[in-house]
């Protein structure tokens, strides 16, 4: 078993690591859950533009006083930062599908060696619908998967081949878990950074996905 870390530490570590990856001026769409936290950890001196699928370009944090006329994709109230704009759904998804977003950050049920991502439905359970996820993974320039390394039963979410219905085929560029950063380099999922709690051997032994090991595996940035 890989060590079990405090849930809050895990969430913050993953969000923080992805935030460190985003260049100044990036336009990003953040999914529900851990991805939402990414905007809290953008390093000082950089600013990213957060797009919400329901039509905000330049969304800010939850305001002190809720105003339901301004909500984000998860239904929570948001603020508008100076320089923001509001568009209709056709423009919003034109931005998403048309390659105008530098990055999207989403969660995963499974992600596999080819970069296939499954995160919208577990057959047998009530079907929630894909919402905007299929468009996001199709159109964003870089697709970040933010996920715990294993599911609640301790099973690796980084798998050889997805068995669940896909959100997108071969779309994943970067996977960040509490233990590692995996990047798709020349089409191969490559272990690039590792957290202090595990060794490369331990990580590989508890990961179903076959990982190529980078020549130099760096300590995972942002871990204390």
């Amino acid at each position: 078993m890989l060590p079990v870390l405090d849930e809050e530490i895990v969430r913050i570590r993953i969000a923080k690591r992805i935030a460190l990856d985003l260049e100044d001026g990036s336009v990003v769409n953040l999914g529900i859950g851990i991805p939402t936290l990414v905007s809290d950890y953008v390093p000082e001196g950089r600013s990213v533009v957060t797009q919400t699928e329901n039509g905000v370009v330049g969304a800010g944090p939850k305001p002190e006083k809720d105003d339901w006329r301004f909500i984000g994709a998860g239904g929570r109230c948001l603020s508008l930062l100076p320089g923001s704009s509001i568009v209709a759904s056709d423009m919003s998804f034109g931005l998403i599908r048309g390659g105008h977003l530098d990055a999207t950050v989403l969660g995963a049920l499974e992600v596999d060696e080819k970069g296939n991502l499954a995160n919208w439905w577990i057959p047998g359970k009530l079907v929630p619908g894909m919402g905007g996820a299929m468009d996001l993974v199709t159109g964003a320039k870089t697709v970040y998967v933010a996920t715990t390394h294993c599911d609640k039963k301790g099973k690796s979410k980084l798998v050889k081949t997805c068995t669940l219905p896909l959100t997108g085929a071969e779309v994943t560029d970067v996977i960040v878990t509490e233990f590692c950063v995996v990047r798709k380099i020349d089409g191969v999922m490559t272990l690039c950074e590792i957290a202090p709690e595990v060794t490369v051997e331990e990580l590989v032994a508890h990961t179903d996905m076959t990982l190529k090991i980078a020549n130099t595996v760096l300590p995972m940035e942002g871990c204390k």
Partner: protein
Amino acid sequence: MPTKLIKPVMSADEAVRNVNDGMSVMVGGFNYGGVPYTLVDALVKSGVKDLHLIANDTLYANDKVPEGIGHGMLVVNGQVRKVTASHIGLNRETGRLFNEKKMELELVPQGSLVERIRAGGFGLGGVLTPTGVGTCYEDDKQIVEVDGKRYIVEKPLRANVALIRAHKADRYGNLTYFGTGRNFNPAMATAADLVIAEVDAILELGGIDPNDVVTPGILVDILVLKGDGYYASRT
């Protein structure tokens, strides 16, 4: 002043009398925002049934609000024969009725849904999109290859009636939008035989700067003033 261009202002109850059993109805909104709550409440009250509901989502129905919110109530109330939406996970009744084969469900990626509506309103035979290619979503879809890249053919979508939510209207039905309430509303205003707009204010001609108009009044048939319901008054 040509009177035909002046759009009737009706009560919500009066306006939804145009919706009959079996009709397809588009309802604007994304989550809580931009939903024509007053019109939807009236539609629930009217008891009209066998509707084909076309909306981004079916809002909420859960333990806290078993009766549902907004057009989620139409589903809970058994007035809907078919739902076309991108996300239904927050309304437990939509999933349950579909699972029990009591209601049809067509799930469409959100960007494809709005493009289908836009195609329906803009006279297009459909759109080609890469979204969903390589997933099970493409299984029952026509695929077209353009310059070596595969696209799904998304067919146009229209409705008998669209219930939309806007901010201000003038008497010609020109509309502006506010905040994140815009979402699907401008697209839906183009894609239905009858368009009913719920608005915060109805102004005389000249009350809206033409530069600010998003939906031209020629697309709008009936105007209804927003009511004072819990959600209508907060959005």
